[in-house]
Symmetry: C2
Subunit: 194 residues, 2 copies
């Protein structure tokens, strides 16, 4: 009887999440295929066969992270008015102040900072993510204008980009300023004018 | 007569600027000593003898970049009122919209995004840079309150952190949004409330 190859058995999501931690800590450029082998316990050929090369694996992690944070965002805004929904999206930054090394900031924000060395596929992912975020904020602002929570003459699209900019900035500031009080004051200022 | 070792001759600033471009494009983690050898044309032992290891070279590039941007900032605000000085610091983001690949965003902002994998010395540099920026904004706001350009009840320190956050955010947004008009609208909104 011949030796039968043992079928690979692993949980795809589990592998993606392990690889996300490596990219998050080391950055895309700083991560080697060996780091990925070490983190997942899979051999190179399993990784190539199931996920493709380092770059396609990176895109998988970005898409997975985006899906996870979108679900979390949605869960946090349920049953909230548009204004409180926007606030809860901003308040998520406060958790960064306490976060441990290696999982701070935002995986997608960090990817943006590495953008100058990124290829078109990654740049397209970031552009799509920007569009999605702008659409989400625009919709929330439009809804708040309907309910009277926001001023009716607010420029929804321009305000959405202002909110996106502040959220990006706060993700970086939140890594540097270890005071929830100071970060909260910035959030209050940003949301106070809507 | 014995062979005399040829003395190394190179311009320190020139080397630092070449190395900055490499770190900027590839990130700290993605840059190897070989990349530095290739970019500078110096051999490894010259680099180690004159600059130390990759990490101390990185700190040199950060300090040099900071000095350069501080000089440029100073030059751009001379003869301006505090309010116009702050605006000119923000308008520098608009140049990113046109910037070519490999030199976009802010070298120090990108360093912050890599922070989760950084050591204490680099974290200290970033904390000092934050303090300097907050002090600069605080001083400009205080000056503007004296001249009546800014509201006298403005909280200078909190507003300084708000401005820093927006400047960081705009450096990232400026990489993604390729419209000067949209970026300008965000800057107008940020500065309009002071």
């Amino acid at each position: 009887m011949g030796v039968m190859a043992k079928p690979e058995s692993f949980d795809r999501t589990d592998v993606i999440e392990k690889v996300t931690k490596v990219f998050w800590t080391k950055g895309y450029n700083g991560t080697s295929m060996q780091d990925i082998v070490d983190a997942t316990g899979l051999n190179r050929s399993s990784i190539y066969n199931s996920f493709g090369d380092k770059h396609s694996l990176y895109l998988d992690t970005l898409k997975h992270y985006k899906k996870q944070t979108q679900s979390a965002s949605l869960a946090s805004v349920i049953n909230k008015t548009p204004k409180l929904a926007i606030r809860s999206l901003f308040d998520s930054v406060l958790t960064d102040v306490d976060a441990k090394q290696g999982e701070i900031g935002c995986y997608i924000t960090n990817c943006t900072a590495e953008l100058s060395n990124m290829d078109k596929t990654t740049a397209d992912f970031l552009a799509d993510n920007l569009d999605d975020m702008i659409d989400m904020f625009t919709n929330l602002i439009e809804a708040g204008k309907q309910t009277g929570e926001f001023k009716s003459d607010l420029d929804s699209k321009a305000t959405a980009l202002y909110l996106f900019t502040n959220l990006q900035g706060l993700k970086l500031t939140g890594m540097l300023v270890k005071s929830k009080e100071q970060i909260s004051a910035v959030i209050d200022k940003v949301l106070g004018d809507l």
